[in-house]
C-alpha cells in the first residue's frame, strides 16, 4: 500500500515539510531557487520581508537544540511572522494523548505553523496527521528519521560551490545509523541526481540495506575519499562508546577523523561540510574545520535562507499553481 503524500496539498504545493522522501527533483529545485533571494536579503541592512506578516509560527522543541531553533526563529522573524518558542520536557509528554491535547491547545490559539523537533522517528508525521487542515508542520528533526531543512541547506551550500549536482561524488562519513541528517541528505542528493553518494563508517554505524537508498558503502575512509567533491562529516555522539558500537574516540579519529593527510585523497577543490556542532579532534581536525575548504559556517548562514524559503512556500500567498508543480 502506498499512502498519499501528505506533504503536498491537492494542487501539489508544499503543505508540510516532513522528509525529503516524497518530493520530486523539481520540488527541491524550487526550494533552492526560492532561497536565493533570501540569501541576498540577509546581506542587506534591512533584512525583513513582509511575506508572513500576521502569521504565527510555533517552535515546538521536544529535544534541546540551539542552532536549529535559532535559525528557524530568525527565519520566521525575517519573514515578519510572530514566533512562539516552546521547549517541552519530553518526559512530561511521553504519552501520545497529552501530545495531541497540547497540539489542540496550540491550535486553539490560532497558530499557523508548527516547527517540530522530537526524539522519536515519525513524530513530525504523527503531528502532521493530526493537526487541523490550515496548519503546516515543518520537521526540524525526528529521531533517526529525517531533518529535511538541514539537508536542503546543505544542498544549497553545495550548489553555491559546485555547479552541477550530476557530476558530483559526495562522501558522508560517520554515524549513519543514528543520523537523521544523513538520511535526508542521501534522499536529497539522489533526488537531485548526484552520480555517486558514498557512506563511510564501521558496520556498527551503517544501517542494514542502506544500499537500497542508492548509496555505496565503504568501511575504509581513504578509499572512499578518492575523487570526492564534497565531504560531509557527521557528529559523533559520545553515547556511542556505550553499547559496544565503538571502542574509543581515539580509535574513531584514527579511522574516520578527517585530517590533512586524508583530505589529500579527495579532489583539490573538495568542500568539507558538517551539520554541527563539531567535535574537534573526534570527527575533524581543527585545521580543516577552520581551513579554506571548510564551508561549515556558510552552512549555518544558508540555514536561515532555506528555512525562509520552506516557510514561505508552505504558508505564503499561493497562486493557483504556485509555479511549484513539477
Amino acid at each position: 500500500m502506498i499512502s498519499k503524500n501528505i506533504q503536498l496539498d491537492e494542487q501539489g504545493r508544499l503543505r508540510h515539510f516532513l522528509s525529503i522522501e516524497g518530493f520530486k527533483r523539481q520540488h527541491l529545485v524550487n526550494i533552492l531557487d526560492a532561497a536565493e533571494p533570501f540569501a541576498n536579503v540577509q546581506e542587506q541592512a534591512m533584512k525583513k520581508v513582509p511575506l508572513l506578516r500576521g502569521k504565527t509560527i510555533v517552535n515546538l522543541f521536544f529535544e534541546a537544540s540551539t542552532r536549529t531553533r535559532t535559525t528557524f526563529e530568525l527565519a520566521a522573524k525575517r519573514l515578519s511572522a510572530d514566533v512562539l518558542n516552546i521547549n517541552i520536557n519530553t518526559s512530561a509528554t511521553s504519552k501520545g494523548e497529552s501530545l495531541l491535547d497540547m497540539l489542540q491547545n496550540l491550535e486553539a490559539m490560532h497558530c499557523d505553523m508548527f516547527i517540530v523537533r522530537h526524539k522519536q522517528s515519525g513524530a513530525a508525521h504523527f503531528i502532521a496527521q493530526h493537526v487541523s487542515p490550515h496548519i503546516s508542520v515543518i520537521n526540524a528533526g525526528d529521531g533517526c528519521h529525517a531533518h529535511p531543512s538541514q539537508a536542503m541547506l546543505d544542498m544549497f551550500t553545495i550548489r553555491r560551490h559546485k555547479q552541477e549536482f550530476a557530476d558530483l561524488k559526495v562522501v558522508i562519513v560517520g554515524d549513519i545509523l543514528h543520523s537523521r541528517v544523513a538520511r535526508s541528505q542521501i534522499h536529497a542528493l539522489t533526488t537531485l541526481g548526484v552520480s555517486e553518494v558514498r557512506v563511510v563508517g564501521p558496520k556498527t554505524l551503517i544501517p542494514s540495506n542502506i544500499e537500497n537508498l542508492g548509496v555505496h558503502v565503504y568501511h575504509d575512509f581513504q578509499s572512499a575519499l578518492i575523487g570526492a567533491d564534497v565531504i560531509i562529516m557527521l557528529r559523533l555522539q559520545k553515547e556511542r562508546m556505550q553499547g559496544a558500537l565503538l571502542p574509543s574516540e581515539a580509535e574513531y579519529y584514527q579511522q574516520y577523523g578527517l585530517t590533512e593527510e586524508k583530505l589529500s585523497y579527495a579532489k583539490s577543490d573538495a568542500i568539507v561540510m558538517h551539520p554541527g556542532p563539531i567535535n574537534r579532534g573526534v570527527e575533524i581536525a581543527s585545521s580543516i574545520a577552520d581551513g579554506p575548504q571548510s564551508v561549515i559556517l556558510e552552512q549555518v548562514t544558508n540555514g536561515i535562507a532555506i528555512r525562509m524559503a520552506v516557510m514561505s512556500q508552505a504558508l505564503g500567498p499561493k497562486s493557483p499553481n504556485g509555479g511549484k508543480q513539477p
Binding site: M1, S3, L99, Q120, S121, G122, H125, G143, S208, N209
Partner: protein, 427 residues
C-alpha cells in the same frame, strides 16, 4: 442457555478432522452433534437453519488471544472479546499467561474460567506461566496449573534468558506431558520495533533482525532435543525460522508452529509512513518472508493460523511509532484473512479450515475443532463468496486497532453456534 434441537440443512460441511467435505445436514441435540445426513429417528428439530450456499465447519480454535490490555481491569473484556470471537466464527480461544496478574497460580486459572463461564460466549482456555511471574528464574507449579485446567505452558513474550532455566523448564514440562509454547526471540537483539532492513533504515526506526528469532529458535530446538520436551513455536515471522522448524520436524522432533493472519498478508512495506497499526511483535518482515510463511502453511510445516488478538485502547496507537503499543485486534478478521489463502496460495478450503480447527485443537490436546458425533456442537457457518468491507468501528472487540480497516475481504460469518446455542447471527 436454551439448547434447542437444531438441524442445519443443505450446507456444505467441511470437517477436516473427520475427512468430511460434502453437502449434507447436521443435527444437534442437548448441545451435542448427534447425526450427520439423515435425521435420527424420532428427532424433532425446533430450529432449522438453511445453510444453502454456505460452508458449515467446526467452530474455529484460536491459539492466542489476549483478553485484555495489560494493566487494565478485565471487568468487561472477557464478555466483549469472546463476543468478538464468536462474531469471527471462533468458539474456542486460548489465552497466554501474561495477564495481570500472571497466570502462575491455580486461583487465577479458576478466576478466568469462572468469568468465561458466566460472562463469556466462547470457550476460554489458558496457558500457564512457564516460570513464576514470567521472570525466567523459578519454575511455576505447572503440574498444579495443568490440574487446574491449563492446556499448556509458556513464558509468553518474556524470553527465558538463562539457558539452564529453559532446560529445566522443558524437562519439567515434559515429565508431566505439558506442551511448551515458545515465542522465540533473543532478548539482546530484540530492542527494536520493526524488521531490521529497508524500512528500519528508511524510517530511522530501531530494527529487530531475523537472527533475533533464529538464534532463540536454534537454542530452544537444541534444548528440546536434549530434554525430549514437546514444543509449539508461536508466530513465526521469517523464512529462516520456517527452515529451522522444517529441519527439526524432519529429524523427528515433536515441534509444531503457527503464524498470525497478519504475517500471512502484510510486510514491512505496509508500515509506509509510520502506520502504527502495523506495529506488531514479532515485526512484519519482507515479501520473501511473507511468501515463505504462506508456503509453510500450505505444506503443513506451520499447521495453525492464529489471530494473536490484542485489543488496545485508541490512545495506545496515538503516538510516534516507537512509543505505540504493538498488537492487532484480530479476532474478527481471522477467518476471511485465512480464506484469502485460497487465492494467494491455492490452498483448498479443507486445508485452510483444518489449520483453524482440528490442528490447533490437537496442539492444545482439547476435544474441539471437530464435528464428530457426540462432540460439543461448536459450529461456524459462513458464506464463502460474500465480500465485505472491514470497518473497525463495527468491531465487537473493544480494540479497534487493525491495519485491515477498509480492506475488502471475502468470506463472512453468518452463524456461530457454541454447545448448541446460536451465539452469533449476522444481520
Amino acid at each position: 442457555m436454551s439448547n434447542l434441537n437444531i438441524s442445519i440443512v443443505n450446507g456444505h460441511i467441511i470437517d477436516p478432522a473427520n475427512q468430511i467435505d460434502q453437502i449434507t445436514d447436521i443435527h444437534i441435540q442437548a448441545g451435542k452433534i448427534i447425526a450427520l445426513g439423515d435425521k435420527p429417528e424420532g428427532f424433532q428439530a425446533q430450529k432449522v437453519i438453511d445453510a444453502n450456499n454456505y460452508i458449515v465447519c467446526p467452530g474455529l480454535v484460536d491459539l492466542r488471544v489476549h483478553l485484555r490490555e495489560s494493566g487494565h481491569e478485565n471487568e468487561d473484556t472477557i464478555a466483549s472479546e469472546t463476543k468478538a470471537a464468536v462474531a469471527g466464527g471462533i468458539t474456542s480461544i486460548c489465552c497466554p499467561p501474561d495477564t495481570i496478574p500472571v497466570i502462575d497460580n491455580a486461583a487465577m486459572v479458576k478466576l478466568i474460567r469462572l468469568k468465561a463461564q458466566t460472562e463469556g460466549v466462547a470457550k476460554v482456555f489458558t496457558l500457564s506461566a512457564l516460570t513464576q511471574q514470567l521472570k525466567g528464574e523459578k519454575l511455576s507449579e505447572m503440574r498444579a496449573l495443568k490440574n487446574a485446567g491449563c492446556v499448556g505452558t509458556s513464558n509468553a513474550l518474556f524470553p527465558v534468558k538463562s539457558t539452564l532455566v529453559m532446560r529445566r523448564a522443558l524437562e519439567y514440562a515434559s515429565s508431566h506431558d505439558i506442551t511448551v509454547f515458545i515465542q522465540a526471540f533473543d532478548p539482546w537483539l530484540s530492542d527494536g520495533c520493526v524488521h531490521e532492513g529497508q524500512i528500519s533504515t528508511r524510517l530511522g526506526l530501531a530494527g529487530i533482525p531475523v537472527s533475533a528469532e533464529t538464534i532463540a529458535i536454534s537454542r530452544d530446538l537444541q534444548l528440546i532435543e536434549l530434554t525430549g520436551a514437546r514444543a509449539h513455536f508461536c508466530q513465526l515471522s521469517s523464512s529462516k525460522a520456517v527452515q529451522l522448524i522444517q529441519q527439526a520436524q524432519a529429524s523427528g522432533l515433536p515441534v509444531t508452529a503457527d503464524v498470525t493472519a497478519h504475517h500471512l498478508h502484510l510486510t514491512e512495506m505496509d508500515i509506509a509512513y509510520f502506520d502504527s497499526n502495523c506495529h506488531v511483535i514479532p515485526p512484519l518482515r519482507t515479501q520473501r518472508d511473507q511468501a515463505d510463511l504462506q508456503d509453510a502453511l500450505k505444506s503443513g510445516v506451520i499447521n495453525s493460523i492464529v489471530s494473536d488478538h490484542q485489543p488496545l485502547d485508541s490512545d495506545a496507537k496515538l503516538a510516534p511509532f516507537a512509543e505505540t503499543e504493538p498488537g492487532i485486534s484480530g479476532l474478527e478478521t481471522l477467518l476471511p484473512l485465512a480464506l484469502k489463502m485460497l487465492d494467494d496460495k491455492k490452498m483448498n478450503l479443507s486445508e485452510i479450515i483444518s489449520r483453524l480447527t482440528i490442528e490447533p485443537a490437537k496442539i492444545l490436546n482439547i476435544n474441539e475443532g471437530t464435528l464428530g458425533l457426540g462432540c460439543d456442537a461448536d459450529i461456524c457457518i459462513f458464506d464463502p463468496d460474500c465480500y465485505w468491507q472491514v470497518d473497525k468501528n463495527k468491531f465487537f472487540s473493544q480494540g479497534k486497532n487493525t491495519p485491515f480497516h477498509g480492506w475488502e475481504l471475502k468470506g463472512k460469518v453468518i452463524y456461530t453456534i457454541k454447545s448448541g446455542d446460536v451465539v452469533f447471527l449476522s444481520n
